[in-house]
């Protein structure tokens, strides 16, 4: 299964979007495309990365976990 939503805007709008995501994750209420994503309790790997390649910039904030 893959759930994805795409947004377009500026840096400030991205920061606001991140705050909304943080609130949803903290409240265990993260919803993507109308589907609730259950947050893990432990054993979570998370990372932040920035890449500039072929004239293109990518900032990724990522968390990964296995099914319990």
């Amino acid at each position: 299964m893959k759930l994805e939503e795409e947004f377009v805007g500026n840096g400030k709008q991205f920061a606001k979007f991140l705050q909304q995501m943080v609130n949803q994750i903290e409240g265990d209420g993260l919803v993507i495309r109308g589907e609730k994503v259950a947050m893990p309790v432990q054993d979570v790997e998370f990372k932040i990365s920035f890449k500039n390649e072929l004239g293109e910039n990518k900032l990724s904030i990522k968390m990964e976990w296995m099914d319990g």
């Binding site: 795409e6 377009v8 072929l54 004239g55």
Partner: protein, 381 residues
Amino acid sequence: MKVALISTEMNPVPPVVGGAIQTYIEGVLPYLSTDYEVTVLSVKHESLPEFEFSDRVTYFRFDRTLYEHHVFDHLQRHSYDILHVFNRPHFILNYHHASPRSKLILSLHNEMMAENKISTFRGNRVVTLCHAIVTISQYIKNTVIDRFPHAEEKTYPIYSAVDMQRYRPYWMDEAVREKRIRLREEFGLKGRKVILFVGRLSKVKGVHLLIQAMEIVAAKHPNAMLLIVGSKWFGTNETNKYVDSLHDLARSIPNNVKFARFVPPSRVPDFYAMADLFVCVSQWNEPLARVHYEAMASGLPILTTDRGGNTEVVQHGWNGLVLSNSEYNQPEAIAHSIFRLLQNEDEASALAYAGYLSAKRNFTFDRLGNDIKAVYERITK
């Protein structure tokens, strides 16, 4: 005017291991190079030098690994008026960054602008940046403008082409007829009715259904032989589960199915020359398989499916038979149409002749070269 044709990372140009895009590029080069200073960027191959100047065309060939990085570096160091990018819309933004003054043309051979291939944001930017988008069928154009309506005015369906000197009807050309007789003896096909399939051995191409249809055909026409040309992937005879399953299926009719496996592109016309009938049983929405053009130029009656762009060039009852949307996945229906072409030689000959005329009038590289030149002129005037 300097033009760079940027092939995909899949296969080299010229198409020593095949590939529809590479064949397309090779075919138009003689026409483009008379008017423009043409450079082709593609991947390396052991049989080809990394740099070459041949027949007025410059070739640079890069490692497949990080291919787009090599292209990016090249574009930063060389100047072109037009970048003609094949089937990789994803890299349009990067290539534009590397060469911001170049005009951009995107050639689409598949549904590369679909939701699972490119984000809406990136797709919109690609459409905005491109001066023209060339698609190999109206079907592919529709997949672009359904999602990106503002692409309508800059998207041109331009059908691909076939080399009419390499692909010749045996019933028209004495040399091909002699070759046909010799090759059919060599391949143990003398006196057989040869039904030809050419393509990748993939489930979406429906080869399993064709073999199942052959079981029905063979019961009535023990003389019929299905000749399958192709492999899992270009240039290799490695198998996978699907290919193994095809060999298993064929074991029930060992005298009616023959696998020629991977055939180098230079030898493919020989297989058309041996055939009596060409069958394309694509199950997926085929963008528009170039094998149709090859079969037409070879003067073979065609049986195809109403999937994707196929019926834009094959009209049922005029230059081929088309399996409808209720028939294309039914072995009985496939077998029925094969019967029809095997039993009605006059109809099969008329379809073959109409197909040959279609290719001669509409699907030559001369026409394709002129159509592409017209796009170049339109965006640079």
